[in-house]
């Protein structure tokens, strides 16, 4: 379904690859969590999957079509099949929950209709149902900046769901939330994943959270893939290799 071939990214002015020769393939129904320290290349990787980041070399194939051979219009059509949520939620400020969720349909509608905010009754109903699914019906007409972090991420999830995606991407979606809220959000993502039979790929900082929900774990270190396997195979030693720097280097401690 989604295939990554020899993917490398090097940012301008850097000597080292942010992402180095990654080969992977994902199938429908997988719940993948990507682990790694800050700066390991998790974000860069996930942003390559929907073409927000262009690789230096390598390819991403979506149902055997190469993302980076496409023109803007074709890429846009792929993106609307991939819902994405973000660490800082990336909601449009000053708009209400309902308005933000409706932006999930933008990929499917004409610019003219989008500008005037002309939504069909079907779209409005679907948005209402989705907002109910994520448990925000009582907040539907509030401006998003008044919501808590967890509620904001629920809006982000609802927006992504309104795209009727086949893939669900998460770029550190719970890294700015407290542990309790993180659990709620992951439960919600898991429900959605199971209900819609998606391919879900999420960056996580927290190993325990990843092990609890993922069906497959991938670990990155300094842009290289150092683990790809079932969660139970990710043992103490793998954990150490992923999170601890070489013995002569002092580094931040991982979040457990």
């Amino acid at each position: 379904m989604l295939e990554i071939k020899d993917l490398s990214v090097r940012f301008q002015g850097n000597k080292d690859d942010a992402l180095s020769h990654i080969n992977l393939s994902f199938e429908k129904g997988e719940f993948v969590c990507i682990l790694g320290k800050s700066g390991a290349g998790k974000s860069t990787f996930i942003r390559c999957l929907n073409g927000l980041q262009k690789p230096t070399t390598g390819e991403v194939y979506w149902n055997n079509h190469s993302l980076f051979d496409m023109n803007e219009e074709q890429l846009r059509k792929i993106r609307r099949e991939m819902g994405m949520i973000f660490q800082h939620f990336n909601l449009v400020p000053r708009l209400t929950v309902m308005q933000n969720v409706l932006t999930g349909t933008f990929g499917y509608r004409s610019t003219f209709k989008n500008l005037l905010g002309l939504f069909s009754a079907e779209e409005i109903n679907r948005a209402k149902e989705t907002i109910e699914d994520v448990g925000l019906t009582d907040q539907i007409n509030r401006k998003v900046e008044l919501l808590s972090g967890g509620q904001k991420q629920r809006v982000g999830i609802a927006r992504a769901l309104l795209q009727q995606p086949k893939v669900f991407l998460g770029d550190e979606p719970v890294s700015s939330l407290d542990p309790g809220t993180s659990n709620h959000i992951f439960n919600l993502i898991q429900d959605i994943h199971n209900q819609h039979q998606l391919l879900t790929i999420i960056n996580v900082h927290d190993v325990h959270l990843a092990k609890r929900y993922a069906t497959r774990l991938i670990a990155l270190k300094d842009g290289k893939m150092i683990f790809d396997g079932r969660p139970e195979e990710f043992d103490e030693e793998k954990f150490h290799v992923t999170y601890h720097a070489a013995s002569n280097q002092l580094d931040e401690l991982p979040v457990h």
Partner: protein, 251 residues
């Protein structure tokens, strides 16, 4: 602890600059010896002459209208240009640089010069003043708004790209709600400035209460001048209050 040797140099340079500027501007406090003249002059301003009040009010509305029209048309034209003059939304480098150049060119011409040109070309009256204010404000608001666009949060823009929205539309939709209150705030300030500018433009024939003030002054009708000045002050304060009211409601 607070002062370094370098500061002494700065102070000396400042003192020299102040001295030179005073020489150039013939700054001379001893001229206040004739302060009585000023009091005599100002006493001619009172009592105010209310007989021309209806005409004055009509002229004030003309001033308000031309300041509003000039600054608002300026805003409408500046908005799209500011998106091409912000590095994060410009369609290409070439367009970015040329729109920035156009904006700074428009900004560099003072309204009074534009006014002199238009008033000569299009005959006297408020219409050339509207154009002068509009042109200058395209330059000013275009620059200010493009800076707001450049400092807007890129997150929502990225999210709009991720949902598959078209590129240009994604920019508009994710940026405008973010910058809107600040755009309004800049606009109301420019509107207020436009009122003051239109007074000056009135002096050179641009109509409105400014022209009346100038004529009353030149014909020594000081009891009317005082009322003109009062009306102008009330008008500027009213616009300021209205502006802050609107801003509060939006933010």
């Amino acid at each position: 602890m607070w002062f370094k040797r370098k500061n002494i140099g700065t102070v000396i340079v400042l003192i020299i600059l102040i001295y030179i500027s005073m020489r150039l501007t013939e700054f001379d406090l001893s001229k206040f010896k004739d302060f009585r003249n000023m009091i005599d002059f100002l006493s001619q301003w009172f009592p105010m002459d209310y007989s021309k009040l209806p005409d004055m009010i009509e002229d004030s509305f003309e001033t308000l209208a031309l300041a509003f029209l000039g600054s608002f048309l300026g805003l409408l034209i500046a908005l799209p240009i500011s998106f091409t003059a912000a590095w994060n939304t410009a369609p290409s480098k070439w367009i970015y640089h040329s729109s920035r150049f156009i904006l700074s060119f428009m900004r560099s011409i003072p309204e009074i010069v534009l006014g002199l040109i238009f008033l000569t070309a299009l005959s006297l009256g408020p219409f050339p003043a509207v154009l002068a204010i509009m042109f200058h404000n395209i330059g000013v608001l275009g620059k200010l708004i493009s800076e707001l666009i450049e400092s807007s949060d890129p997150g929502p823009q990225e999210a709009m790209k991720a949902v598959g929205a078209k590129k240009g539309f994604a920019y508009l939709f994710s940026i405008i709600p973010q910058i809107w209150p600040n755009v309004l705030s800049h606009y109301f300030y420019r509107f207020e400035v436009a009122i003051r500018t239109s007074l000056i433009l009135g002096f050179i024939g641009g109509g409105g209460i400014g022209q009346r003030l100038f004529n009353d002054f030149k014909t020594f009708q000081y009891s009317s001048v005082s009322l003109d000045v009062l009306i102008i002050m009330v008008m500027v304060i009213a616009v300021d209050l209205f502006g802050s009211h609107v801003r509060k409601r939006i933010i």
